[in-house]
């Protein structure tokens, strides 16, 4: 398809314009994090300094909250990928009697915002006497991420031709082996997409741990950051920005790590018939 040169220039200009629009909101975050006298106003730091970062990193309670946050989010992402992978397999490969209604239920579940059910969840945790537990908070987050993950995982798995597996079976591989050795590698893009999706989801979620965890020492970084901002004292914008930057890092690192798989991971076309 030919596009005239003039139009091509417009395309590039439009894209650059949009990219700038997307970049601008970050500007303050970067400047403020290196400025000890930062306010909400946008200005270059008079003196570039790492003091904000050292202040955050030298506080052991911040390190602890980061570690807890990582534990929760990584744990959740791992559980979600494994459990959803297992569940997606029969849904993708087998003819099951209740498959349709099961998938509809799953799809329906993805529509339910967990924010809405936190009150009953807290009551449930209280009843089971599992409140204030990091592990159960992780498991709860995993459960809440499952419907979405199962559904996406099934779509990704549908895209892997069954013939490849059949040849593995002929060679004597079991279902689990063929899943691990054949389906798994082919589905890596999908798996990464789902992992990143769940990781960033829970890493940024302050509401669930905020309700389910009571002891201050157990709170993950998301809640700490929220409290940083929500308090009535003087807001130290420099430290806030530095904390935010550090807090954003894990998502970015994960993204860079997974980037080469991801572009393929977003094919939703197989999900439906137009």
């Amino acid at each position: 398809m030919k596009v005239s040169k003039k139009e091509l220039v417009i395309h590039y200009l439009a894209l650059i314009f949009l990219a700038i629009c997307f970049l601008l909101p970050f500007l303050w975050l970067v400047f403020a994090s290196f400025d000890q006298q930062a306010t909400q106003a946008i200005k270059l730091p008079e003196k570039w300094t790492l003091d904000n970062f050292t202040a955050i990193l030298s506080d052991p309670s911040n390190i602890r909250s980061f570690a807890i946050g990582l534990f929760i989010s990584l744990g959740q992402a791992t559980i979600v990928v494994i459990v959803a992978g297992l569940a997606a397999y029969p849904l993708s490969r087998y003819r099951l009697r209740y498959k349709r209604s099961f998938l509809l239920t799953i799809l329906f579940m993805t529509s339910l915002p967990i924010t809405a059910v936190m009150v009953p969840v807290y009551q449930l945790f209280l009843f089971l006497n599992i409140q204030d537990s990091i592990i159960f908070t992780t498991i709860f987050l995993a459960a809440s991420g499952l419907p979405y993950a199962i559904w996406m995982m099934k779509n990704f798995m549908d895209a892997v031709p069954i013939e490849l597996e059949e040849s593995a079976w002929v060679d004597g591989a079991s279902v689990l082996t063929s899943m691990r050795k054949v389906v798994g590698p082919l589905m890596l893009p999908g798996i990464f997409t789902i992992a990143i999706f769940t990781f960033t989801g829970s890493w940024g979620n302050f509401f669930v741990p905020y309700i389910l965890l009571q002891t201050q020492e157990k709170l993950p970084a998301s809640v700490t950051l929220y409290q940083f901002f929500g308090n009535y004292g003087i807001i130290e914008y420099g430290k806030l920005a530095a904390f935010s930057m550090l807090y954003t890092m894990p998502s970015i690192i994960l993204y860079i790590f997974a980037q080469k798989y991801m572009s393929k991971g977003f094919s939703l076309g197989g999900a439906s018939k137009g």
Binding site: M1, Y12, A14, L15, I16, L18, A19, F22, L23, L24, P25, W28, T39, Q40, A41, I42, V83, L86, A87, P90, L96, L107, L112, P113, T115, A116, V117, V119, P120, Q123, L124, A143, S144, L146, I150, I196, T200, G204, F206, F207, S222, L225, F229, Y237, S244, Y247, T248, S251, I252, L254, Y255, S263, F266, S267, L268, G269, A271, S272, K273, G274
Partner: protein, 285 residues
């Protein structure tokens, strides 16, 4: 074969049953009680029938919240993210790889940034002496107190900024699936570019668009942190969408039962939305 299927499905079933379906059922139950976080009601829970719902429908704030939720959904999810995502994907099509990547990374940065940090960035960006007002002043406009004067627009734009990358990536993948040969054939037949877009490209990516729209809608319905941090639902109740309204009733006024009844409405909206989409895209499962 089937035993294996059950085995594979059981971990997910256990988790979903315990931590997803049970809370849902509890939501139905609690919505009809006076469950409270503190006060006499906290000591003795009582079944109060439809009291919460009658209160809710008499509450002018509730009606406004429903309306605001729908506005927020429509503009930030359906219109904003999906359209902007599609535009980005179309523009980026057949551009140099390095350039494509460069733009992609910038847009995706907004997506991988956690919601609460997104909120901080935007509060500062839109503040009185923030970046945006600095630019406006630079080109000769008066600064505007965005979060006070246009609160809804502000949170909608912030949410678009945060969410667009997802739609963009979905559409990029979908557009890559459009076979080149089909397009070339259409060109040979003398079809105009618009005709090709509407007759060839669109039908092929339609499935992705609808699926994506559903996912984005449902995600947006659950947005809480972003708005709560940016405006707290205010000023007044200008940005009080249902999740915030629910939070205020449950955790500020301590009326858990009432808050749960509001949650139920939220769940109903989610259900209706997904049923509509499923109907529309004739899901093949």
């Amino acid at each position: 074969m089937h035993r294996k299927a059950i085995l594979f499905l059981s971990p997910s079933w256990i988790l979903l049953l315990l931590f997803f379906i049970t809370p849902m059922l509890l939501t139905f139950g609690f919505a009809f009680t006076n469950l409270s976080l503190t006060g006499t009601d906290a000591a003795n829970i009582q079944f109060i029938g439809f009291q919460n719902f009658t209160n809710m429908f008499q509450d002018p704030e509730f009606r406004i919240s429903v309306f605001r939720t729908l506005i927020f959904l429509l503009f930030s999810a359906v219109v904003g993210q999906v359209v902007l995502g599609l535009i980005l994907a179309l523009l980026m099509k057949e551009k140099r790889r390095g350039f494509r990547r460069f733009i992609g990374v910038i847009v995706i940065a907004g997506w991988v940034t956690p919601e609460i940090v997104v909120a901080f960035c935007w509060v500062a960006f839109l503040s009185d002496a923030g970046t945006f007002n600095a630019i406006l002043q630079g080109i000769g406009f008066e600064p505007i107190t965005w979060l006070f004067t246009f609160p809804m627009v502000s949170v909608i734009i912030a949410n678009i900024w945060h969410g667009t990358a997802f739609s963009m990536m979905v559409f990029q993948a979908a557009l890559d699936d459009v076979p080149k040969s089909v397009q070339e054939a259409a060109v040979i037949d003398g079809a105009s570019r618009w005709q090709i877009f509407f007759r060839v490209t669109l039908p092929i990516v339609k499935g992705s668009i609808v699926t994506n729209m559903m996912l984005v809608t449902l995600q947006t319905l659950g947005v809480f942190t972003l708005i709560y941090t940016m405006t707290g639902g205010g000023p007044g109740n200008a940005t009080q969408i249902l999740p915030i309204f629910m939070y205020n009733q449950a955790f500020v006024n301590y009326q858990f039962g009432y808050g749960t009844a509001i949650s139920l409405v939220l769940l109903v909206i989610g259900t209706v939305a997904s049923l509509l989409y499923m109907r529309f895209m004739k899901v093949k499962l």
